[in-house]
């Protein structure tokens, strides 16, 4: 890992160079009351103040809807065409957060656990992630409780930390990151002395550990806690769609007579239709069972099967929830509960 110091005021110049050199740069852009990752054309578009975007950065490698292949029928012949990988642009994800970067590891684990998902992998490989360490947090943040942290560099290619009004620490973790530095090498000064990065980071108290949660929930399949916690859940898909690690998708046909395409689109386990069988039978008939699935999947099934937890503590689900289903609050209560 290389460490540099860069003058904060020079960051924009660097970003400008990145925009000129890389086909696609995604960065937090504000419109109205919300900030989202959007393709930017100039550094001015970036909202440097934003804590997190509403929707996570996962779409950079796992878009809400993508074409798997196209088909064309002519009489009895059918031709399949797959999109060329050239269609997926080299991308820099700018001003992401540690929790965004961390989210790609569970995603990759899901897409590659047995069958290697070429489409995802290609997009992920073409993605360079530049995170900005958090010097602020809000009440929904709980990254430290699930193994992350405001300055966690896992998954980042580069992490920037604003040390003071003028200087920013640049940590380059990967070769991909090094390539970005190389675009404007002159502005990076090698780190002369150790800096106390922790000092400038947001303080986010640890409320519980993910292992603790795993232990509690793994034996709580029949616990009444699910019904109690999910009582006010409305069953929308907001939490799943904003989540950096939710990878459930649906395969849809966009069929038009003799031609069409097969699509992969985001799905959400909160929807009542999610596990509904054609027969009308639904193994998860209530919101309580769907909520249980959500928690167990993230904190029990994933660590057990994939060795990775499905939560980065970004708190997006809590912010997006129309009825304040605060994940941290529920996890604390699970952690503090005796086995029910």
């Amino acid at each position: 890992m290389e460490k540099y110091i860069i003058k904060t005021e020079q960051i924009d110049a660097w970003l400008k160079r990145i925009i000129e050199s890389v086909p696609r740069v995604l960065a937090p852009v504000s419109s109205g009351t919300k900030t989202e990752f959007r393709r930017i054309k100039s550094p001015e578009e970036v909202n440097n103040k934003s804590l997190t975007t509403t929707v996570s950065a996962k779409a950079a490698a796992f878009p809400p809807v993508e074409t798997l292949f196209k088909y064309q029928k002519d009489g009895k012949d059918t031709t399949l065409t797959e999109d060329s990988f050239d269609k997926y642009p080299e991308t820099v994800l700018w001003h992401a957060r540690s929790c965004d970067a961390m989210g790609f590891s569970p995603l990759s684990a899901i897409f590659d656990w047995d069958y290697k998902d070429n489409i995802y992998d290609e997009r992920r490989n073409k993605l360079t992630i530049v995170t900005f360490a958090c010097n602020q947090s809000d009440e929904c943040c709980f990254c430290t409780s699930v193994g992350g942290g405001p300055g966690n560099v896992e998954g980042s290619d580069i992490q920037l930390t604003m040390l003071n009004a003028t200087d920013t620490l640049v940590e380059v973790m990967t070769e991909k990151g090094q390539k970005l530095v190389a675009l404007l090498p002159d502005i990076f000064q090698p780190l002369s002395e150790e800096v106390d990065k922790e000092a400038v980071l947001a303080k986010i108290p640890v409320q519980f550990t993910k292992e603790e949660i795993k232990e509690h929930v793994s034996n709580a399949f029949d616990s009444p806690v699910w019904k109690r916690q999910s009582a006010r859940c409305l069953g929308c898909g907001a939490c799943a769609f904003v989540c950096p690690t939710c990878a459930c998708f649906d395969i849809q046909e966009d069929a038009h007579g003799n031609h069409g395409r097969r699509l992969r689109c985001w799905d959400a386990c909160g929807f009542s239709l999610f596990t509904q069988h054609t027969s009308g039978y639904n193994p998860r008939p209530t919101q309580a069972t769907r909520w249980r699935q959500r928690i167990l999947h993230k904190f029990s099934y994933m660590p057990e099967r994939l060795g990775v937890y499905g939560c980065t503590g970004c708190g997006r689900c809590s912010r997006a929830c129309p009825v304040d289903m605060n994940l941290q609050e529920h996890l604390i209560s699970i952690a503090n509960s005796n086995h029910e």
Partner: protein, 261 residues
């Protein structure tokens, strides 16, 4: 304990009701609260600041079953309950509607007449922000309007929080879930996002009580609430006050038809 909490304790202790749907203080906001035990009654608060319209829970069978329940209702809930009743979705004998006045006194609204009267007397003032936005859009030319909505609705991720939060979106199967034919593409796309909103508004026509829960639920803060608001205003202007709520299942032989050749 305040009067509301006392009343709630009594109701639960006495077994009059199995459940009270009310409000509690959440994380920096008021949120719905399901009070089942007398000892939880002290968590109950009364506020019309909750973005959720709790009437939405009244059509969820898995929550309320066949039990008698009480709902602590503000204008929003009451207006929705009136409409839900018109649409045969309320079992009045299983529902107790309680409201709290400014002195903290708890009143039970026992009949729909009382609820109608309550709504007449407590109609909230129209939201000036919504009105201003509608006016702004009305002033745009068509191309500008299209550009505006295209860019706004392009952001929609189709989480259907707007649908989930609406007390009147209680269909067992939403049109968005119909796949023979697939009226709406079930994935996020600008077209189906727009079509979804058109459907939502058409289906709400004459029924919408204007509680604004749809807009408040939207995680992306999209201006979808003004669609239903605009529709309601237009309907009132063009078709008058409909009876029974649904303007599309009734008609007047003298409806305007200046657009029909």
């Amino acid at each position: 304990m305040n009067k509301l909490q006392e009343r709630a304790t009594d109701l639960l202790k006495g077994g009059t009701v199995k459940l009270i749907i009310g409000f509690e203080q959440g994380n920096n906001k008021i949120r719905p609260f399901f009070c089942e035990k007398p000892e939880d009654a002290e968590k109950l608060i009364y506020s019309d600041d909750c973005s959720t319209n709790n009437a939405v829970y009244l059509t969820k069978k898995e929550l309320i079953g066949d039990n008698k329940i009480a709902i602590i209702a503000t204008y929003k809930e009451i207006a929705s309950i009136i409409q839900l009743n018109k649409e045969n979705q309320i079992k009045k004998e299983n529902l107790m509607v309680l409201t709290v006045d400014k002195d903290g006194d708890v009143t039970e609204l026992t009949s729909f007449e009382e609820m109608e009267k309550f709504c007449e007397e407590n109609t909230p003032a129209p939201d000036p922000v919504v009105a201003a936005l509608i006016e702004k859009i009305d002033k745009m030319n068509r191309e500008e309007r299209w550009a505006y909505w295209k860019s706004e609705l392009d952001k929609c991720i189709r989480c259907y929080a707007c649908r989930a939060a609406c007390p009147l979106c209680y269909c067992n199967r939403c049109i968005s879930e119909v796949n023979c034919p697939q009226w709406l593409d079930p994935w996020k796309s600008t077209l189906s996002n727009i079509e979804w909103q058109i459907n939502r508004v058409m289906h709400m026509s004459g029924r919408c009580t204007g509680c604004g829960a749809c807009a408040k639920a939207c995680p992306l803060d999209l201006p979808i609430g003004i669609l239903t608001k605009k529709m309601s205003t237009d309907i009132k202007e063009m078709l008058g006050e409909g009876e029974g709520g649904n303007v599309l299942s009734t008609f007047n032989p003298n409806d305007k038809e200046n657009f029909i050749h």
